[in-house]
Amino acid sequence: MEIWRLPISASQRGKLISAGYTSLSSLSSISSSDLARELKVSESEAMNILKVASHSRGSETSNASCSIVEGALSAWDMLHDEESLMHITTSSADLDNILGGGIHCKEVTEIGWSSLSLIVNSVLKYKLTTAFGSESIIFMLIGGVPGIGKTQLGIQIAVNVQIPNDFGGLGGKAIYIDTEGSFMVERAFQIAEACIEDMSEYNRFLRKDFQECKIKMLPQDILENIFYFRICSYTEQIALINYLDKFLSEHKDVGIVVLCRVKVIVVDSVTFHFRQDFDDMALRTRVLSGMALKLMNLAKRFSLAVVLLNQVTTKHTEASFQLALALGDSWSHTCTNRIVLYWNGNERYAYIDKSPSLRSASAAYSVTARGIRNSSSSCKRIKMM
């Protein structure tokens, strides 16, 4: 809140501003006698100003020093924050639509194999600007059967997070944690190339003077901004996630380089190493939820999105086998959003299985040479006999 909104007389306001007091917080630590001397007013008048100021500061928000628990936010503030947050597009307009604009930062999203790509395509088509707009934390879990496109979605997100602010992106960097060895550099290069092409097309379409806003990005730059970690065991995985805190602090924005910092962590897949060597399932659950807590903490502190890719498993219930996301039921409590990717006939679909803020919906997407895009009939699964 600023000084001019204080319920005090105009002359007092003028004196305050000309003395250099523009915000309420600048009045918070000054004594009434000092203020009286500086403004050349009587001490009781200064006391009055301070009283009004501290009163309005108190009623303004409950978040600052006055809140009972430090750091607590009111729901109103959080909503306001969230609206200013950016989303990471999935490049599939349909997918972004069901995700409310893309992947949120500050949340953990699990993606089964089916949904990430949907998200990627929708944004590019409709609202390249808004799609990349929000820096909220998303913990997102994405799961699905082999070959559905989980890794594709992971790579696409790692590339899309780097779309600059001018194009409605986050202009961030990505951390890619590969536990399965399925990350292919040549594929990431292809997707990065297509992403840059799309941006310049968008540029031509929207702004006639492309002199001014030329794209200086190269696919190499995009690859350079993906921090790639290859993990070969679950101990390494836990160690890396413990280390990320330090890594992220080191790669925080310094001074002017606000744009360049990590905005998304993709873990492909969180499951793989935890499906072996664990006889004690309770221990596994504890280790996993500890890891999830750490990731969530990172998401919150550095306001980044966490995308976890999960595998499917067969669940044996009542003498029948059913496909279910791996790691069990308790794990499914840990993520904020959960997206399941699945085949519907010959088309890939993403389905929002769990989300506190999005209604459940599904959307078709396809995996193309250029990455994840809206579904088109041309990209059908090869029917296997």
Binding site: G181, E224, C232, L323
Partner: protein, 264 residues
């Protein structure tokens, strides 16, 4: 822990020895990952394996890995005769890469595997084996033909047994991946098919093929005209999924000299 630079991370490929198939696979079988071949019996899985272990010896400039290979076989007997036959034509067509009295078969290490636990045991010995072989031609290719045979008989269809089985899958595949990563190996695994038990055809399909490239071959008897005397077999190779390949397919044939793609 430091991140690897993606710009320095190159994906090396091992040629299959046929330009058409190489084009389909963008250069061949990728290093640092596992490739699975699924097919019915008699489709040519073993043929691909044999051919690849020969072509891995080509110099890098010719698409090979300039390396020797480790061939683990679970089906008996090992097709020495066929390997020798392929070797002769391989040597004559690539004579300039090898000395006169050199036998490419010398650089294929063959080991038989009897059970899944045996396989794990062998793999734990593979580390020192590959490390110590560095003075000779390094091992850059591991072939397991076929992984499915190990799992077909030993396991009952009860939940406990299935759990044990799937935990073995994960152990084996993570060990293979760690090996592939450590020595930058190409790993080729073959799998069989079963009559429909579920949505996935390969018996190990759901587990081992996770996320790796799966190439599927298929035999289609051509319904040629009835006057055709010789029944010609059409074989087809599908890329089922791979992180870097589009879904695609190609026909191929198997001749005395090896396995070759056919362009239509």
């Amino acid at each position: 822990m430091t991140p690897q630079s993606l710009l320095q991370l190159t994906s090396q490929k091992c040629t299959t020895g046929c330009p058409i198939l190489d084009r389909l696979l963008y250069g061949g079988i990728p290093c640092d990952s596992i490739t699975e071949i699924v097919a019915e019996s008699g489709s040519g899985k073993t043929q691909i394996c044999l051919q690849l272990s020969l072509h891995a010896q080509l110099p890098v400039s010719h698409g090979g890995l300039a390396a020797s290979s480790l061939y683990l076989h679970t089906e008996f007997p090992f097709p020495f005769r066929r390997l020798h036959q392929l070797c002769l034509s391989f040597r004559s067509s690539n004579a300039h890469h090898f000395p006169v009295n050199d036998n490419p078969c010398d650089r294929i290490f063959v080991q038989s595997v009897h059970t899944a636990d045996h396989l794990l045991e062998i793999m734990s010995k593979t580390d020192p084996f590959i490390e110590n072989s560095k003075n000779q031609v390094p091992v850059r290719l591991i072939v397991i033909d076929s992984i499915a045979a190990l799992f077909r008989s030993d396991f009952d269809n009860t939940p406990v047994e299935l759990k044990r089985r799937s935990s073995l899958f994960f152990k084996i595949s993570s060990k293979l991946k760690a090996l592939a990563k450590r020595f930058n190996l190409a790993v080729l695994v073959t799998n069989q098919v079963v009559d429909l038990v579920g949505p996935n055809e390969g018996i190990n399909g759901l587990f081992l093929s996770r996320n790796e490239e799966v190439i599927r071959e298929e035999n289609e008897k051509s319904n040629g005209q009835s006057c055709d005397f010789v029944k010609k077999k059409m074989r087809k190779l599908y890329v089922v999924f791979a992180p870097h390949l589009p879904e695609s397919s190609c026909e191929f044939e198997i001749t005395r000299e090896g396995l070759f793609g056919v362009e239509r």
